[in-house]
Symmetry: C2
Subunit: 544 residues, 2 copies
């Protein structure tokens, strides 16, 4: 028997409907790099989204087309988050931190017909045109003040297009599997790969992020996504804010660590989501500067992109009463797989056990099914020790990449997405990512977890950041080398070796410590081990 | 462009997956009418759900079949909530409070092949067999102690079937639009009408109930649905509890008001959902008996089925710190349309304005679009005064009833569900239901809201309950008559007339007050105005 329910597709426009009708006086606030803030309400936002849809229509954009952005976190970018998908087109948020040839590659690969860019990105886009982005038919510059001079052509001013456009626009209804957004993820080797999000996936992920025990966004929240809007839809948080009617605060162009803190103080921000490194840098700024900023409004800090050190979570709670917590996500899962919270049944667990859980990726979120598999794709137990490749099954998880032929997987994984992560899962369901498959170190036929070593190093009071990579070794195949940024200038190789000796088997200990001023990072703010290995390889090659 | 996401349907089995894997040690507790409690964990629940699916398979039930229950709120009924739908069959929860001929009608209409019943329902079902329920091929009795003697045939013991069945069962994957459940709603005239819920609808409604600002069920909740499991899936709360991993407490057979209070005290229940009248009766019991029961655990009380009087919400907060709140729902919307919370922007509103909002139906929940229309189906403004028929559009709202040909609606309402309620919506989006269309009183060509009169009467300290119905009138077409249950035996018609005079136009005031010991109620616990009008009609007919 079939259910007799209305055939209403899951579309992002339903969030816009709710916010405009119920929360029209809630605010979207953007830090201006010229000082001060831009602020308007959801009523005006909705009208501008309609103007944008009409403007894009006038440029020839229609259902199924791709529209790209190259932009910071600001209200115009948020208008694109809705104006593009609600008309049935697809928003490709070009990653500002990719190399230019990769940016050009993604524009050509996604087939964007219009590119909306920030004024400061004009020189970069002029170079993209030289590299070749022939499918882009029009450029639209999102500028304050005067229109920049450029040889981009045809070129339009965002605000001039908006001023000419009507604010009347009927949101069309279409299939919920229509692509709403594309984000590219950097691959271990080769070109970036495009993840194509459906409206259905983003709506479901947003509802789930809004659930009790997940992100904690409710109507009273003043939420600031620090994560760039060109990274996995800013972790889907803007959509959750619209679904719930929360205020959104956006960090504007070229934000620095101090800017985040100043905005939190100015706008009484209640929650942020950011890379672990950003949470770390904000802490460092406060400790280093001694400056007093009133951060008392900040209740929640969702830290992602890597496992947070225990000390960082503890510091935010102790010094500011902020519940800093983590989860486990990836571009391919819209992005969340797990969220971390302490189950009520484990509230009285011993402190070390509790911290091990709280620094793990947490528990799979609703509608997510997860398993870990061995090299034969057979499922491994949730025993806290078996390490396997993470496989996912959820309506918001990618089944593949844009125009990439699916790798053949065994029938055991039919209907599942096989990720590039290896993890253990404990009997309570907490998922701890042990490594990217490509970062795992194989020494003497045994695996060494670079993440376990890094986490241990980062609990040392003299260490600010640490990265461990495998380098080729004639006898053992690979051996671990640690790259360390000191907090305490006195800390030495001998100190760290002694510190780890208590914690790990002798053959796990790094062969060498290299002290640096900063670690190589990817555009996602993650440790860039690919680059670190290449640099170390060159160093070795040079030294022989 | 199409999104490249995994094709994972929204199925109730995904909640079971999550609870079994992550929250296997959380508990399902049932009050036993023999005293004490039955309690087990989600691990055992999952195994028994599998046994039930296998048992039903052995009885010939397969994908698309209908399986009925006639049962109280208890763990076996909850097993049916999952065991039936996860195999692709449809659960028809027969309403225990319908008249027997109506129960037989719904069984025949839905085509149930198996009926699972509580032991105390055996005599009733024997009478249903006499009335004729030829499609039911097997009866399964959910009994504690010995199997009752009965002439039902063929008849099985639930526990004996379970004991014989395997606990291995692979949950099949199928279309999310497959019917998971059927509930019948009593119609204004004629036979009950069947609402057929898809898995998709129940999954979406459950996720939304679990959102911040909605029901408030998180993993740490100990939730007790007092609403019967044969009424709109106990308001979808059991599914939300499974999605979130909350403990569930079930009220067992023949619960009385005091039982609810005792269970809350015994099991440290944190939240309940119940009809307004139940919240009222619990209050009355406490006040009347003076008995001390420790209800300090009870933080949330979701009251539905009608608008709650202000005094009741206030009483629960003042005397017990319980946040009692309401919403607006209907069997046709899985069931929620709106939830009531105070927007942060209205936190400082004047107290009378605040109470008007808090006793309204509240704000439309995510994915719900609502409008009110006039007699020509044209949309009316959200101005707090225009009264119109409520129309809904959500993926969890009915498009019609089982085997009922759709009424022809104007093309203006294509894709919308036109309800039987009339309401106003204020500019902030708060929906206040003014009446069922059939309960609206038309006097001298103008509308009188029976609900407005009732709510006003119930704020009088001498009134426990009040109902206002229209009775035919030669001159004015209809005139209001009030039926009142006194709290204070001294209260008189003159008192109430004086009380209402300040609040309403003179022509709104009831022509007559009839004082009763209790008001006629429907099986949903709602005021039964149909019956009241019929009784009044008979009284009038008898008196002339």
């Amino acid at each position: 028997m079939e259910g007799l329910m209305l055939d209403v597709p899951l579309l992002l426009s339903s969030f816009l409907w709710r916010t405009e009708r119920l929360f029209h006086d809630k605010r979207i606030i953007t830090r201006l790099s010229t000082g001060g803030y831009h602020s308007y309400d959801y009523r005006e936002f909705g009208q501008r989204v309609r103007r944008l849809a009409n403007s894009l229509g006038a440029l020839g954009i229609t259902h199924g087309d791709v529209v790209a952005t190259l932009a910071w976190n600001h209200y115009r970018h948020l208008e694109c988050y809705y104006g593009v998908p609600v008309m049935g087109a697809t928003l490709h948020t070009v990653n500002m931190r990719l190399f230019e040839d990769q940016q050009a590659y993604t524009l050509n690969h996604a087939g964007a017909r219009v590119l909306l860019l920030d004024a400061d990105q004009v020189p970069a886009v002029e170079r993209l045109v030289e590299i070749g982005i022939p499918k882009v038919e029009a450029f639209v510059i999102m500028h304050d003040g005067t229109m920049p001079v450029t040889n981009l052509s045809p070129v339009y001013s965002y605000e001039q297009l908006m001023a000419r456009a009507s604010s009347e626009f009927e949101f069309p209804t279409f299939d919920e599997n229509t692509a709403a957004a594309i984000c590219y993820t950097s691959a271990a080797t080769g070109d970036p790969k495009g993840v194509v999000y459906s409206h259905r996936a983003l709506v479901l992920q947003s509802l789930i992020l809004g659930m009790n025990g997940m992100l904690g966004v409710d109507e009273s929240a003043v939420w600031m996504p620090i994560s760039p809007m060109f990274h996995a839809n800013a972790w889907c948080v803007p959509h959750t804010c619209l679904a719930q009617g929360a205020d959104i605060v956006l960090t504007g162009e070229h934000p620095l660590d101090r800017d985040y803190l100043q905005i939190i103080a100015d706008k009484r921000v209640t929650g942020v989501n950011a890379a672990v490194t950003v949470g770390q840098m904000m802490r460092d700024y406060i400790e280093r500067s001694g400056e007093h900023l009133d951060l008392s409004s900040l209740k929640l800090m969702w830290l992602g992109a890597q496992a947070p050190p225990r000390g960082l979570l503890d510091w935010w709670m102790t010094t500011n009463g902020t519940r800093a917590f983590t989860g486990y996500g990836m571009t391919e899962s819209s992005p969340q797989v797990c969220f971390n919270f302490t189950k009520s049944t484990l509230a009285d667990a011993p402190i070390e056990e509790d911290w091990a859980r709280r620094t793990s990726g947490g528990l799979p979120i609703p509608l997510m099914q997860i398993k870990i598999v061995d090299e034969d794709d057979d499922e491994l137990p949730w025993d806290g020790t078996s390490i396997g490749t993470v496989c996912l099954r959820a309506p918001y998880t990618a089944r593949g990449y844009l125009n990439v032929e699916a790798e053949s997987t065994s029938t055991k994984l039919a209907g599942w997405f096989k990720s590039g992560d290896v993890a253990v899962i404990d009997p309570d369901g907490y998922v701890t990512v042990k490594d990217r498959i490509r970062d795992h170190i194989k020494s003497g036929g045994e695996w060494i977890s670079s993440i376990d070593l890094e986490n241990a190093l980062m609990t040392h009071p003299g260490v600010r950041e640490a990265m461990v990579v495998g380098v080729p070794h004639e006898k053992w195949q690979e051996r671990p080398v640690a790259l360390v940024v000191k907090r305490d200038p006195e800390v030495s190789t001998a100190d760290l070796t002694r510190y780890l000796t208590d914690r790990f088997a002798k053959w796990w200990l790094p062969d060498e410590y290299i002290f640096l001023d900063e670690l190589p990072k990817t555009s996602m703010g993650k440790l860039d081990k690919k680059r670190a290995r290449a640099t170390l390889g060159q160093l070795r090659a040079g030294s022989t």
